[in-house]
Symmetry: C2
Amino acid sequence: MAQHIYDDPAFFAGYSEFPRSRDGLSATSEWPAFRALLPPIAGKRAIDLGCGFGQLSRWLAENGAASVIGYDLSAMMLERAVRETRDPVVSYRRADLETLDLPAGSAELVVSSMALHYLADFARMAATVHAALVPGGDFVFSVEHPIYAARAEPEWVDTADGERAFAITGYSTEGRRVTNWIAEGVVKYHRTIATMLNTLRAAGFEFTALDEWRPTSAELEQRPDWHDELHRPMFLLVALHRP
Amino acid sequence: MAQHIYDDPAFFAGYSEFPRSRDGLSATSEWPAFRALLPPIAGKRAIDLGCGFGQLSRWLAENGAASVIGYDLSAMMLERAVRETRDPVVSYRRADLETLDLPAGSAELVVSSMALHYLADFARMAATVHAALVPGGDFVFSVEHPIYAARAEPEWVDTADGERAFAITGYSTEGRRVTNWIAEGVVKYHRTIATMLNTLRAAGFEFTALDEWRPTSAELEQRPDWHDELHRPMFLLVALHRP
């Protein structure tokens, strides 16, 4: 079973204070890049893996999805998701993504925002999503970028000439990482870009697009504190197609 | 015109001392991974971009290629390539890859080993290779991994707890890098994995496989000094298919 950290009261309280938790997609830095990877939504049956508070599920419904099913392991996240959702095309189900089964050919679109790096078995998830999609369907997801996630605790260092740099260790050593993020002992799984793309292709997907998120020039003018984001990407976004 | 560093006598002398220059593919750490990405060779017309001393061109001929044309900018590299090649199916041509034109549909296989990071215009090269391939053809290449190449001068640093880490800066700021590698002022171009894969897809390629080179367990037993290679990949290998 996947680690159940989002129902830890201290973690939940801390996570609920994040800008993206309070203010939704408009406060989610990588959202414009994610949205740009999405195919047309209208009329599609969508699945949202790791839906959390349901922001993305609701956005899909607002943009014409015929139905949206959001899955999450956290009862506390889903409780708020249900409370904040009026649209009857959206439903939520509590499930462990690590063992989730989805009905074959039940969706034209599967999305997942910042959830799949919690899963130990990426190949199982790739196969599950592929089977859930109809031919012609699309899969768009984001995870922590492996450059960011390789080292359990992100760390900035100074180079010999005093420049600020991001420390990378263990990029090619995949597997479990235990990090202190909001709460102590948060478990996630590091895998390389090659492993993700090769696994998705082995599952039958065609690669469509990759986005290693970086702020735009306009965003950098408004958010000078985002300049460090140019040193290393924090988010990896992937779009795939089931032929 | 691409920088012409390989005909700089000091650079050429230094490069000629590299294990891969002296001993060929058997001394090229990423060669087993590169070979694993190659399709069957027999009967194929092959093009080798940035062929250098011709090791890969000759290997393709030895493995049954119908013809191999190796292109390189360096007269000094090609002089040795010609001298060391007996097989009449291999020929060499001096050309600047930055402005190279290739006959349409003239090859079933295009390869390039550690050359394309010297090119400013990756999109032009992707389009050139795509046009040169017949439908069903393959393109396999290696470049410096962008994690390694982001920072002009590779640098190891110590983290707060004294661990050895690789310093990454400017991953998301693409473009020209001037580095001191063998000689001073070697010009290369940093681009992200996303830019490379998205550019190749825009040119019409289908993604086949990615390899972010790391030593195998067996190699690590023989070469304990390669353990640092697990911290950050130095080589990126990409395989693509022209549908």
